[in-house]
Amino acid sequence: MVKKKAMLIDISLCVGCNACQTGCKEENGLPPNEEKYLSLTAYTALSKHNDLYVRRMCQHCDVPTCVSVCPVGALTKSEAGPVSYDGEKCIGCRYCLQACPFHVPKYEWSSTKPSIRKCKFCPSRIAKGLQTACADACPTGATKFGDRDELLLEAARRIQAEPGKYVSRIYGEQDVGGTSMLYLSPVPFEQLGFDSRLGKIPMPMLTMSALSKVPNVLSVGGVLLAGIWWITNRRTEVQAYESSLKKGDVPPHEDDA
Amino acid sequence: MFDLANWRNPETLMLNLTNGILGIVTVVLIVWISAEAIYEHVVIGKSTNAKH
């Protein structure tokens, strides 16, 4: 049983040094320039809100929307946490771009064999028991890597220890069914660009309600249509019979009204 | 739509040519169909007037 991994991002500890982005770019072989937004070459980025720096990347949701919408299963969720992408399976339908509630996947529009790009959650490092590259690079401990349940306890502990310092909410604990990226913030999350309308139900549940009815439609619908064919077929037979009666071809039967 | 900065680049050239041709086709089609619509309107106008 592999333990679920997560990262705790404490916004009050972030000083905006961008070491996480640098470490990530190095680990993934991306060009080393500093970038302010998520892009094909920046899997994580800091955005500044007044004096606070907010780090965003793929949330590696527990019940990922992108995984559920991909028609060919190019995106998969592993037990340890990372949502991985297989470009060889991808057909380029871009449903994942449309569906992701955090607007994470970026598309290689200028390529003739495009893929999506996003944070991978360093699966090879995690498999070796190491931290993610960004957590390793962070000098202040604003990004902390660990087991999800332990980090949740840690976050709750921090809130309780200094109640005035944090908003009493761990973003990502239950949002869209829970994500691997947990956030603590000194100000309300809406002010930092977080979408707080997302709710606790994972998005895939919305589609499930429709898709689960497919077998019903097929079975009930099939029987219904066959039945209607059968009943109306009888009526045409009866009409043909009655018209031949009128012509006098067939003597009346005792059952006729 | 049109990249005039590095037009020597074969890909940019192809894009510019394609968009140029499509632009011309757009203008031609719009003018053609509008003219026909106006013509039809005018002809009908004349024929209904002629009846009186």
Partner: protein, 402 residues
């Protein structure tokens, strides 16, 4: 009331169709050699655009196939037999066009066959891909007798007729599923699709509206192909179809408005925004006005009235699908999506191919004749005039009584 009609083109629509097809081909070459980024205005903020909107539209208009087949072959409304073949042809061409545009829109068109062997049962898009593939197969089986008749190959026809009932039932079920599934695609983005369009009832709404649009396409076709001679479908039957369309429009309207009000969208409906304008455009043109026209028997039995009403249903339906697929989605303050010329011309070119294929097939194959084997198309004089502008509304002087 001034009737809505397309202008008569002196030289015929054929040259224009040819220009559109050639321009579309050029645009397609550009798209495949240069990639989506250079040739479209799609972006990470607007990953789906005109082509996906066109697919939504095309699928609904091709709904004629399953509705008429169900009516004639499952509900035994045999008097509508003459329009079964045009309806199947419309559906067949429509689905092929949609699949073509879908493949062009894919980032990796070389991987288009992947859903056949890799599937994710949780994905609505996977279900749609399968339904489309299976249903196109069913359509080709339903269409095959028309080709076989032309070449007088009769034995496979008997075989096809023997297995036709289960296939037709399967076809109607598949259509019900994917027509509603196109709506289900958007169930997963309540945070992106505007309140005027997002609802858990999307699949139901898509299904009801596709019945109206599919039948309207059939009515339009029967009007267009009824020139200079006896009407292709008796006026009374056409009027009955119009009644069903009116009913579907009414049901849709009630379900939609009721749903909107119960979800608290009243404010959105009564504030003047880009979205509410788009909403009223689709509701008025596609539902309210045609419905109020079709309740009158005079309209249902007149060529020009029926032509205008069904054209409006189709137009309103197009606006509705475009709104759901493009306009109603999240808007970014600094960015707006408008299709590029290449996107537009690929769509127009493929549409032109569809219309041309329809008229070509209608002229040379027994589509607008009765289903009896051996009825040669050249016996039907009216068909020889099919060469002329096809999109012309019929002469609207006294419609010939059937």
């Amino acid at each position: 009331m001034r009737t809505l009609r397309l202008p008569r083109i002196t030289a015929g629509w054929r040259p224009i169709a040819t220009i559109l097809i050639l321009a579309g081909a050029l645009a397609a070459v550009a798209r495949f050699t240069l990639g989506l980024g250079a040739t479209t205005n799609l972006s990470d903020e607007f990953p789906w655009g005109l082509w996906i909107g066109f697919d939504f539209l095309g699928i609904g208009l091709a709904a004629s196939g399953f509705t008429i087949v169900a009516a004639v072959h499952l509900f035994h409304a045999k008097e509508y037999e003459p329009i079964v073949r045009p309806a199947i042809l419309t559906a067949f061409i429509g689905y092929l066009l949609v699949v073509l545009v879908l493949i062009i829109d894919l980032g990796r068109p070389d991987h288009f066959w992947h859903p056949l062997v890799m599937w994710n049962p949780h994905s609505v898009m996977c279900e749609i891909s399968w339904c489309l593939m299976l249903y196109t197969t069913v359509l080709s089986l339903e269409f095959a007798p028309i080709i076989l008749e032309k070449f007088n190959i009769h034995s496979p026809i008997k075989w096809i007729h023997a297995i036709s009932l289960p296939f037709m039932i399967f076809g109607v079920l598949l259509s019900t599923l994917h027509q509603s599934s196109f709506g289900s695609l958007y169930l997963i983005v309540p945070n992106r699709l505007h309140a005027l369009w997002y609802t858990p009832m999307l699949p139901v709404l898509f299904f009801i509206s596709c019945i109206a649009s599919g039948l309207s396409m059939v009515v339009l076709e029967s009007l267009i192909f009824s020139r200079k001679g006896r009407p292709f479908l008796p006026t009374r039957l056409r009027a009955n179809l119009a009644k069903i369309i009116a009913l579907a429009l009414a049901v849709y309207f009630v379900v939609r408005i009721q749903d909107l009000l119960s979800r608290g969208a009243f404010r959105e409906m009564t504030t003047l925004t880009y979205y509410s304008v788009a909403f009223y455009a689709e509701i008025l043109i596609g539902f309210v006005i045609p419905f109020s026209m079709l309740v009158f028997e005079k309209v249902r039995t007149s060529h020009s009235g029926l032509y205008s009403a069904s054209l409006m249903v189709v137009l309103g339906f197009a606006i509705n699908r475009m709104n759901t697929a493009i306009t109603g989605l999240e808007r970014y303050p600094s960015q707006v999506y408008f299709p590029s010329m290449i996107e537009i011309f690929i769509m127009l070119g493929i549409t032109a191919i569809g219309f041309s294929a329809f008229s070509f097939i209608a002229e040379y194959l027994p589509v607008f004749t009765t289903a009896e084997a051996g009825q040669a198309p050249h016996q039907n004089e009216a068909l020889n005039r099919v060469q002329e502008p096809l999109l012309l509304p019929p002469e609207c002087e006294n419609p010939r009584p059937s």
